[in-house]
Structures are given as structure tokens and as C-alpha cells.
Amino acid sequence: MSYKLLPLRFERFNNDEIFITNEVGEFTFISKDKFEQLIKCTLNPQDETFLNLKAKQILTDTDINPVIEMLATKYRTKKSFLNKFTALHMVVPTLRCNSNCRYCQVSRKDVEAHQFDMDKSTAKKVVDTIFQSPSPMIKIEFQGGEPLLNFKIVKQIIEYSEWRNLFKKKDLEFVICTNLSLMTKDMLKYLKKHHVYISTSLDGPRDLHNKNRPLQATDNSYDILIEKISLCREYLGHDSVSALMTASRFSLERFKEIVDEYISQGFNGMFLRSLNPYGFAKRDRRMLGYTMEEFVENYIEALDYIIDINLKGTYFVESFASLLLTRMLTPFSTGFVDLQSPAGIAISGVIYDYNGNVYVSDEARMLAAMGDNKFLMGNVNKNSYLELFNSEFIRSLIRSACLECLPECSSCAYQSFCGADPVRNYSEQGDIVGHRPTSEICKRNKKIMHYLLDLVKQGNGKIEDVFWSWIIRRPIENNVCITSS
């Protein structure tokens, strides 16, 4: 009996098992012996392993064309984020900020430095550019600085976008990323009227949050934040406010407390984010930074803790795990800009600085703030949409940002779940292609993916229920949470 192998990638997963995936990320674990047989073409077609591999289009002993057809269909689905082009448009209404965040990577400007505000004509140009994106979904996200310090431009952008959308009829969404300290009832009434979501930052319990994110005016930013969160919820509804955390050196060893803080503040999810230590000065790096190993260790501990909380009946999602699990366990594509191949920079998400400069990502803007304009796409006041998004620069950047053709990634068994990030490679390693064995991001992703896959492999039905409740965003119903194992 003979059979043919179809495209596959594999890795030794542990001492006895090989992790093996097809071109679209469907996977299975097989023993070393079976793997040996598989590649020598001596697997028995009646064997369960053979049938499993065949059903996943890793091999075929009959037709090939329809099998390729099936893989192609799934491949199109997995890559369907590409059909839409740029959906996420981040806008910086001002660089001014009233915070004093320890790890701030944006060259924050003084509260009075009005020359760093976006002006009206630039704001209009930004919206005009955004609405030339072919994406049927447009998400405009206000970043900073502190956007509330230039609320009149925020309003102008919202209203002008809504007006433009009367004709374009896209699925339009607004998010404002703010420390909330300046939020007023009038602003909230306005945001409610225009269906704006709020994304704020909460780094943990009072002392930790205050340490990471002090305001310029007071050291107790935490109490102000908590008070404003409840005000926002009162006006906009409970689920209109989400929060992000960034882990500094001070946060390590305290992830559980941070999780508890999120739960006690009524959030039903969080994103455990690592800091990008390459964005700030060496001195700060030593004080605030940490190694990826340290982060991953803390992350995994926190993840276990969160899973446990879910098992005890509280629905609470860790978004990074949820995202990776969605990529591993479903046939669908995900819209998260940092975890895509080709990379999401520019083609999925883009950022417009206060002066109209357009950068491929937030990190690219930070590089520019430090004097490196490598990832500047142009300026809305000078360049047309096509010049910005269809330049040879963007094309060549995206061409070299596909995992499928990056060294090491191209044969990595985790490729289908992972993403390319040339800006990060560049800021970390001075080169957009980068060197995987020493890449911090690769280290983090690989370890976390391995850990999640190991949990999946163990086949604990209860944990599987938790994962699926995250993926499909539906709390587990107790009476029907059935464990089959």
C-alpha cells in the first residue's frame, strides 16, 4: 500500500510524542514510532493513526486534487483577514498627557504643550484617508497621549466619520483609550450618544497600579480610576469598559493579585501583556524590564490560576490565550494585528500621529519618537491613500513579513498559530527579518503555545470546556457542561 504525504510541519513535543500539523493548523500528536512509519510510508491504512492523518489531509492514499481543494478552502478561510484590508485605524489626537507612566514609550508631552495637538484640517484628512480603506469594518481607536486632553478633535473625528459613513455604510466602531482621570459626565453623555467603547489601563491592586501609572497631579491614580470606571459603567453600560494591563518588573510575582483585582472590579476578562523593553532607555530597561523567561513563567502561573477560577464557576477570559486557542482549535481567522502572517502592520492596522504622520504600527511610531523613521508611511496632508498604502515600501515590507518564508518560521510547527512582526524584529534585533533563536517574541509565543497545546493534549474535558467558553464567548452552563473523558 502506498500513500503520499501532503504539506506538514512537525516538532518533537516531548520525549515520546511528535506534534504534527497540516498547512492550516489542524494538528495531532503521534508517537515516535508511528512518526517513523509515517515518513517511511509504512503506516498501515487500517491504523487509527493513518485514518486520523488522512482525515486531516496530512496524507492521502487515494485522490490528491480534491484533498488540495479542501486544504485550499480552509487556507482561504484562515487567511480571510486579508480580504478586508485595514480595519483598525488608531488616531493620536494629542501627545499631551497628564500621566507619568513608568514605562511610557510614547514621547509624552507636557499638558500645556498645545503644539502637539492634532489640528482640524489634519483630523479631517485622517478621516478621509480612513474611509478610503476597502474594509467593510472600520474601527477608529483614539490613542495618546491622553485623548481626553484634546476632546474637541475626538468629537470632530467621530462626527465627521459618522457623516462620511452615511454614504459608505460600513460597520463603524469607536474606542477611546484613556486613563479616565479627566472623564466628565458631559463627555460620557457624548460617548454614549455616539456608541463609543472605553479602553482603560489597570495594572493591578492600588500600590502596584500607583507605582506603574502615577498621574502627574497625584500619586493615587488608582482611586480616581476605580471611581471613573464605575461612572463610565453607569453611563455606558457595564460591558462598554474594558481594561488592559502591562506588566512591569514590579508586576512580576504578583500576577495572581492582578487577576484578583480585575475580578473584584467586575471585569470578565483581561489581557496579560508583556512590556516591550526596547522602547525605552537602557536605564529604565534595567529597572522596569525583565527577561521573557521571567514573563512566561509568571504568565503560565497566572493562566493556571485563571483556568482554576473558571473551573470554580467564574467566567473570566485571558485574551492572549483565548486568541491563540482560537487560532489552534478553530478553522477561522482572527483579526488580531500582532499575530498574523503576513504581518498585520499597515494592512490590518495603522496609526495616524497628531501631525498627520502615518506609521505601520504603534511600535513604529515609538521608534520614530526615538528618531528612527524607518516605518513612516507618509503624511495624510501630503500623501494620497494609494501613496500611503500601496507604496513599494509597504509592499516590500509585507513581502518580508510572512512566516511562510521567514527563516525558521517557515518550518516551525507553530507557524499557523503565530504571527510575523517586522517592526519588533527591527527594534529588537536591528533587522526586519530577524533571528528567531534569539527573538524574545518567538520565545514567548513558542513557550505559551507549547503550554496551551499540552493542556489541550491532556484532554481534561473540564479545561476544554473553559477554553471553548473563551473562544465562543459563552459562559459554561453548569447543567450542560459535560465531560466526556
Binding site: 485514518l51 470546556d465 459535560i482
Partner: protein, 375 residues
């Protein structure tokens, strides 16, 4: 469909189709009605008259039937009468299990087919159009089945179109093996009818071509898959059906996985017990497994899909055979005329909720039938 035996009091030359009525009908409309007489003097003009006592003055086609059988027929039902007097019940007004059997030919020969098929037949479509014209237009649900309905080609499109025009409120479920749907243009024609509520249900029995083709006795697997893709391209509402037997029960969880990863667009997935008639009965030795013995695989498959947000059901199953956590997926789905219960079921507290048995299961059914008492 149910058959009633009758004795023609005068010779009949051809098939007669009509709608049952117990009340006299205006003369000009009578030709579409079959009048159930109750001893009164017979009048002419009806397509046929059913009587329970011999009548010395038959008017046109008059059929003598047994009183018990007649009771089965209600106003609005549609029946056909064969020249030998046999009455086929084509449509029951108060049932949700009505189907149009558009052909008895098929391009597969499934190892567990519960029907007897033919290789040659006359065009049934005039007959089907007639039935459609007689069906009550408040009917909720109507099946289109065979044989393999797509074998009648464009006639099928005409039938769906007729349903859309005559029965716009009726939900249609068409059962097809999907092989002919490999042809994109044919699928396009079906979809272009723009029927307001059409579901196309397609069986898939295994996660590899070899196993599936072995079960259906044809080289259909990849054609059916292409058919599913074609339907999906038009966003057509699709269901997948899986009949479970000894040849495929072991890999039900893997089949669920296969469906989720390749056809996440399907609207509904149904797992069903086998009906042990005809071909299935002949092959019973290689097919039969006590449904109780595949509970483990069924549970894995069903919960796998449910967790992923898919809409999944179990058809034709008895509650006492299933683990309790699967009860919520069961649907009563056996057409009423062949749905039976065992004698002991009478004492079961869950009789009302239970799917019961196919009539053919009387001889062969699970060894684990046991009445259940509420707490």
C-alpha cells in the same frame, strides 16, 4: 407512507389523487376531492368516494374500506388510489413529517438504505405538482426526498419553484446525497429559485473517502464535499446527517472534528439511529450494533460540536438508551405513521418526550430499553 387496502366497487383505470373531505363539496370543485361517505346517498363528480359498507349504487370510483382505516384519514389529507384499490396516504394535514417522494431512483447504494429502489420509473413530476396543488397552504414543514431527488434534474427546480409559489409559508427540507451538487451551475439554479426557507440536508458517514464510499456503495465522498462547498458559496442553509451503525460508530468523534474543521458553515448536524428496513435489514449482520454500545462515541461527537457553538441534534433515539446529559439534544423525528413504542413504554414516565422507535425496530432494538420513572 401509510397504505390502506380498499376494494374498488367499479373498475378503476388509472391513479387517482385527491383531497379527503367529510363534508359535501360544491359540484364544480369536486374533481379534486375524495368524499368519505357516511351512509348517505352517493353523489357524482368526486375524484373518488370512500365507503365503509357495500353500496348498491356506486357513483364513479367508489372504494370500500375498513372503518378503522377510514378513521386514520382526516379532512385535508391527500391520498392517491391505485387501480387495485390500495390507498396511499401522501400527506397528513396535521403532521409535520410530510414528504414529497420525487423519485425512487438513486445514484448510491447505501449499505443501510431503508428503502427499496428502482432503476427505471416514469416521470413522477406531474403527480408531485398535483400533490403540491392539493396540500394545505398553512403547512409548516415539507420534506423533499427520494431516492435521490437531484436525479430528476431540472424537474427538481420546478418542484421547488412550485412549492415557493403555492406554499410560500412552508419550510422545505430537501434530503440529498449531494453528489450531483458537485455541479456548480445546478446548485446555482436551485439557489436562484430563492425559496424563502429551504434547508438542504446531506448525509456524511465518515471522515475519509474510503470509509464513506464503502458505506454508500459509490465514489461520492469528494463530490459531496464539493457539493457542500458549492452550497456554502451561496450561503445556502445546510444540514449534515449521520446515520450510525457498526461500520462508522468508532470514528464519530473524529467525524465531528472533520465536520467542524471543514464545514463550520453548516446550520445543523443530526446524528441518527439506523432504520432497519429493506437493504439495511439484509445487511443487518454487518451493520447492527446496539445503540447503547456507541453512547461513548456519540457523546464525544455531540458535545464536541456543541461546545464549538454548533447546532446539533440526535434523531430517532430512545431516552432510556441515552445518557441523561444527551437528552437535551434529542428530537422526536420519526414520521408519525412509522413511529411506534414498545408495550412496556406505556408505563414509562418519559413516553411523551421519547423519540420512540421505527416500526421496523419491533424485531430488533437496543437491549437496554427500560422504563424510567420521574425521581
Amino acid at each position: 407512507m401509510k397504505k390502506i387496502t380498499g376494494i374498488p366497487l367499479l373498475d378503476i383505470n388509472n391513479h387517482i389523487i385527491g383531497k379527503i373531505t367529510y363534508k359535501p363539496i360544491k359540484h364544480s370543485l369536486r374533481q379534486d376531492f375524495i368524499f368519505v361517505a357516511n351512509g348517505e346517498k352517493l353523489e357524482s363528480g368526486y375524484a373518488a368516494i370512500l365507503v365503509t359498507k357495500r353500496n348498491r349504487d356506486p357513483k364513479g370510483t367508489t372504494i370500500l374500506c375498513n372503518l378503522e382505516d377510514i378513521k386514520y384519514l382526516n379532512t385535508g389529507d391527500v391520498v392517491s388510489i391505485e387501480p387495485n384499490g390500495n390507498i396511499n396516504v401522501l400527506y397528513k394535514k396535521n403532521s409535520v413529517g410530510n414528504v414529497l417522494l420525487v423519485t425512487e431512483r438513486c445514484n448510491c447504494s447505501c449499505i443501510m438504505c431503508p428503502q427499496s429502489l428502482v432503476t427505471k420509473e416514469d416521470d413522477k413530476s406531474p403527480f408531485i405538482f398535483k400533490i403540491i396543488s392539493l396540500i394545505d397552504n398553512n403547512t409548516q414543514l415539507l420534506g423533499i426526498t427520494g431516492g435521490e431527488p437531484t436525479l430528476i434534474g431540472d424537474k427538481l427546480i420546478d418542484i421547488i419553484t412550485a412549492c415557493k409559489q403555492r406554499l410560500p409559508k412552508t419550510k422545505l427540507i430537501m434530503l440529498t446525497n449531494g453528489i450531483k451538487l458537485e455541479n456548480f451551475d445546478y446548485v446555482k439554479k436551485i439557489v436562484m429559485v430563492q425559496h424563502p426557507d429551504l434547508t438542504i440536508d446531506i448525509p456524511l458517514y465518515a471522515d475519509t473517502d474510503t470509509e464513506h464510499n464503502n458505506i454508500i456503495g459509490a465514489n461520492g465522498f469528494y463530490k459531496t464535499i464539493q457539493g457542500l462547498y458549492n452550497l456554502a458559496r451561496f450561503k445556502q442553509k445546510i444540514g449534515i446527517r449521520i446515520v450510525i451503525h457498526k461500520l462508522n460508530y468508532k470514528r464519530l468523534p473524529q467525524l465531528a472534528e472533520f465536520i467542524y474543521h471543514n464545514f463550520p458553515f453548516v446550520f445543523h448536524i443530526a446524528f441518527m439511529q439506523m432504520e432497519t428496513m429493506e437493504v439495511a435489514k439484509k445487511n443487518i449482520d454487518i451493520l447492527w450494533i446496539d445503540p447503547y454500545d456507541y453512547n461513548e462515541q456519540l457523546e464525544k461527537a455531540v458535545t464536541y460540536l456543541w461546545k464549538r457553538g454548533m447546532n446539533v441534534s440526535i434523531y430517532n433515539a430512545q431516552l432510556c438508551v441515552l445518557p441523561k446529559n444527551l437528552w437535551r439534544y434529542t428530537r422526536k423525528s420519526i414520521s408519525s405513521w412509522k413511529n411506534i413504542y414498545l408495550e412496556e413504554c406505556g408505563k414509562c414516565d418519559y413516553l411523551e418526550n421519547c423519540g420512540g422507535f421505527f416500526a421496523s425496530s419491533l424485531e430488533l432494538h437496543s437491549q437496554h430499553i427500560e422504563i424510567i420513572k420521574k425521581n
